[in-house]
């Protein structure tokens, strides 16, 4: 670029624009990296959620239904409720708006290729050079502000990553618990059910024979509480334990426990606290600005 370009400030403009473009590139890379990381975490989370959902869905057949049948003989079993899915995380999209804004800004401020000869004839080259110098100055002073925007974005992404890592751990924990409960039911409770039913049937028959009743349809309507503190207390105890396991497995079935837990961001109280805090910050910054105006006048 020749003297005219230098005088008009085009050279300087070109180098400033190039600086901005470099910044854009490097921030673009960093942002892409972080987003990729986060999405990988999301993918892992979703894999685990899928596993948990499978367990939960299948629990109806494997655990809940048999238990429901069993327990209905002894009391008012309520419905298990509808299956509710644990939600998966949506993949994070790359933040575009900041970059698009910057692109537009660059296009606006780039005058290194604009034709200025005609304009110089009309408005004198000195005026045009002066105006360009002012534009370049403003641009140069804006660059740190633009950097700040992207730094902010990066920080938010990093925070997101930390939070997602925690949620991943919680997901594992939850999955582990659900699996344990269902396995426990399947291995320690379900096998006992037929034995206990058989026992009660036998008892029924015994009583019917003793009572001299006709052996027709055996009624399985037993009041379990009657067995409490008798020699048959242990059956009472078992049915009670089984009932409680039923309740909890229904809960795991009809409630997306993890999703609900993770969504708990704030209570009403916390929200209010946040709002108050925000207003306080704004008040403080306004006061500071006034203070500075006073100082500089």
């Amino acid at each position: 670029m020749g003297f005219f370009d230098k005088f008009m400030g085009r050279t300087r403009n070109e180098s400033l624009i190039s600086e901005l473009e470099d910044l854009r590139e490097s921030y673009n890379e960093e942002v892409a990296e972080l987003v990729q990381l986060i999405n990988r975490l999301y993918e892992e989370y979703n894999l685990r959620i899928e596993e948990v959902n499978d367990l939960r869905m299948n629990s109806w057949q494997a655990q809940i239904e048999p238990m429901q049948l069993f327990l209905s003989s002894f009391g008012n079993v309520k419905s298990s409720g509808e299956y509710a899915e644990e939600e998966m995380k949506l993949m994070m999209k790359r933040p575009k708006s900041e970059f698009e804004q910057l692109d537009q800004y660059i296009v606006d401020k780039d005058f290194s290729d604009k034709g200025m000869f005609l304009e110089s004839l009309v408005k004198t080259p000195f005026y045009v050079a002066w105006r360009n110098k002012k534009a370049n100055d403003k641009l140069e002073l804006e660059i740190p502000k633009i950097q700040l925007q992207f730094e902010e974005l990066l920080h938010r992404l990093r925070m997101k990553k930390e939070v997602t890592e925690l949620e991943l751990e919680l997901c594992s924990l939850y999955m582990d618990t659900v699996r344990f409960i269902l396995t426990f039911i399947r291995e320690r409770i379900i096998p006992e059910l037929t034995l206990i039913i058989a026992f009660f049937e036998a008892e029924s028959l015994k009583h019917m024979v003793i009572a001299g009743q006709a052996l027709g349809e055996v009624q399985y309507d037993y009041d379990i509480q009657l067995l409490q503190d008798t020699m048959y207390h242990k059956h009472y105890q078992f049915v009670r334990n089984a009932f409680f396991f039923y309740v909890i497995s229904c809960k795991f079935y009809n409630t997306p426990v993890l999703t609900r837990l993770l969504e708990h961001t704030s209570d009403e109280e916390d929200l209010q606290e946040l709002e108050d805090y925000q207003t306080l910050l704004e008040e403080q910054s306004k006061q500071l600005e006034q203070h500075m105006l006073l100082k500089s006048s």
């Binding site: 939070v163 751990e169 344990f180 242990k234 059956h235």
Partner: protein
């Protein structure tokens, strides 16, 4: 077994998010505020303050004739007030504009100016010592002028009134001669003519005599006007003859008062009225006055040019050197004041603040203080000599030009004053160029400022001269007016140039400041968030550990349990709490066992 639940972890997560947001937001706000502050502080050059400071310095310099110290009062005050050994704010380094104020001394109060004036007055010698009748130059000059005028215009015309001359026939030596009533008059009178013998040798004086009898110093006047003009002089209010220094206006005023003076017979008045010099009320006509002044100015200018051609510049330089030498003691004193007084004041302040001062302690501390002050002055010896050297150059140039300005008159005088301002500001510019510690942009910026201030001072000077002529203000009023206007204008020009920042000096500083601030704040933010992250991870890991242990315990106990004899409810309640399942197990059981009858 703890009372921990997943909720605590979620709350820790939320706290983390809140804290993180808060940290980032505060940092962003902080950076924006500082950005804003840096941008705005540089524009707040307090015009009022700077004008006040300059004004106080200039008042002292003018009225107490402290020009030769080459230090201003406000500079001293500022330095004394804010001095510490570490923060040694040397204002002399940025004193370009102040130097420009010191181009012109106060005419009324400066010792040097008085001295030069006295010397000038003392050296005046009468130019024409020979009798007029015997002076061939005089006769020849007048004749030549008359002839040239006659030849050019075909007749003789009164140059002031425009009236045509008339002839009368007179018999002289038996011959009839035509005698005109117009005389060739010396514009600057022959009798009053003097020259400065100090700077003009005999050949120079001879050239001056020739000038006085050349066409540049002649005008055709009516005989009456010529006679009553006579050998007019101008006196100052102390009665001294200042004809050699008189302005065209002063001279023409003196001549006019001669013309307007009433004589006993009143004949002169009548003649002058008839011949177009006076109007009906006996006052000199404006057109005549204007023409007269114009001719005097023209003559004075030509005289000045001739004088400058023949001036012995060696002598001028010698005299300028001796005034410079005479002011070295003051320059030295100024430097010592500037470098010694602030640390001394500082030391005294320190001593005065100390408690439990015994005489012994005082004396020993005094010795140490004296040592420090001496060391400080010695450290700055180089600066001191540099300052004195540049002050000497300034003083020499000032005196040299002041002498010449004293010699010349009218427009030439004004031109020389301009030249003086330009030359002295050029010297400042050269000094700036030679500064090893400045960048090219800073040098260019300083030079533009110096030239800007110079032009401003020149403009104000011209305005003042015009005002003086138009409004006839006395000198004692003109001086303070000029000081005030010069200071205000110079400061405003400086402010405008600062804002314009033609060489991006200020902008460069701004950018550097902002970038530095940004880097600092960004690192701070980075460190803060790093810490937040670490704390968050540590806390959550710990909580998770406890939770896992709890759950493992639950699992172990359940696996070991005999469901027929032991109650599983406590363990399930724990899980209920951990995962916030909100199950009311007891209510559920109650609902279960109630049998509808």
């Amino acid at each position: 077994m703890s009372q921990l639940s997943v909720t605590e972890l979620i709350e820790r997560r939320d706290q983390y998010v809140k804290d993180y947001e808060h940290t980032v937001m505060t940092a962003v706000k902080q950076i924006n505020m500082k950005h804003h502050a840096i941008l705005n502080q540089s524009l707040g050059i307090r015009l009022g303050e700077s004008i006040a400071k300059d004004l106080s310095g200039e008042i002292v310099r003018h009225y107490f004739d402290t020009s030769d110290y080459y230090i201003t009062a406000d500079q001293m005050y500022h330095r004394i007030k804010h001095f510490t050994y570490e923060q040694d704010h040397d204002v002399l380094k940025d004193s370009h504009v102040k130097e420009l104020y010191n181009i012109n001394d106060s005419e009324l109060h400066s010792a040097t100016q008085h001295e030069l004036k006295r010397l000038n007055d003392k050296s005046q010698r009468k130019l024409f010592t020979q009798d007029r009748e015997k002076d061939q130059l005089d006769k020849r000059g007048k004749q030549q002028y008359r002839d040239s005028k006659q030849a050019a215009e075909g007749k003789l015309v009164d140059e002031l009134t425009g009236y045509e001359g008339s002839h009368t026939t007179v018999v002289r030596n038996g011959k009839e001669i035509l005698v005109s009533d117009l005389h060739a008059d010396h514009i600057q009178s022959r009798e009053a003519a003097t020259y400065n013998a100090r700077y003009l040798s005999e050949p120079g004086a001879e050239s001056m005599r020739q000038f006085y009898n050349s066409s540049d110093n002649f005008q055709m006047l009516h005989a009456s006007a010529n006679t009553s003009k006579g050998d007019v002089r101008v006196y100052d209010n102390r009665g001294q003859d200042i004809t050699h220094r008189a302005t065209p206006k002063q001279l023409s005023d003196a001549i006019i008062s001669q013309w307007e003076k009433e004589t006993a017979s009143g004949d002169k008045q009548q003649t002058l009225k008839d011949k177009g010099y006076l109007d009906e009320s006996g006052k000199v006509k404006d057109s005549v006055r204007k023409e007269l002044e114009h001719n005097i100015r023209h003559s004075q200018n030509k005289e000045s040019v001739t004088m400058l051609k023949h001036t012995q510049y060696g002598n001028v330089a010698k005299d300028a050197l001796s005034t410079t030498a005479r002011s070295i003691p003051k320059m030295l004193a100024g430097q010592l004041l500037y470098y010694a007084v602030p640390p001394i004041t500082y030391e005294v302040k320190q001593l005065a603040q100390k408690k439990q001062m015994t005489l012994d302690r005082f004396l020993s501390k005094l010795k140490a203080a004296a040592g420090r002050v001496t060391a400080y002055v010695m450290k700055n010896m180089r600066s001191i000599f540099q300052h004195i050297r540049s002050s000497m150059i300034g003083k020499f140039l000032k005196s040299f030009f002041d002498i010449l300005i004293g010699l010349v008159k009218a427009t030439v005088k004004r031109l020389l004053k301009l030249v003086k301002s330009l030359v002295m500001s050029l010297v400042s510019c050269v000094k700036v160029l030679g500064d090893k510690h400045a960048t090219a942009a800073q040098k260019a910026d300083s030079i533009v400022k110096i030239l800007g201030a110079t032009i401003t001072t020149i403009v104000i000077e011209l305005l003042m001269e015009y005002a003086e002529k138009q409004f006839g203000l006395p000198n004692w009023l003109m001086e303070p007016l000029q000081i005030i206007l010069t200071i205000i204008a110079a400061n405003v020009v400086m402010l405008v140039l600062e804002k314009a920042d033609l060489f991006n000096v200020k902008h460069g500083l701004l950018v550097a400041n902002i970038r530095r601030m940004f880097e600092e704040e960004r690192e701070k933010l980075q460190a803060a968030t790093q810490q937040l992250n670490q704390q968050f991870r540590a806390d959550t890991q710990q909580l998770l550990q406890v939770l896992r242990a709890d759950i493992d315990g639950i699992k172990d106990r359940m696996n070991a349990m005999d469901l027929y004899t032991e109650d599983a409810l406590p363990e399930l309640e724990r899980l209920n709490h951990i995962y916030k399942l909100d199950i009311d197990f007891h209510q559920e059981w109650r609902n279960y066992v109630i049998r509808s009858v």
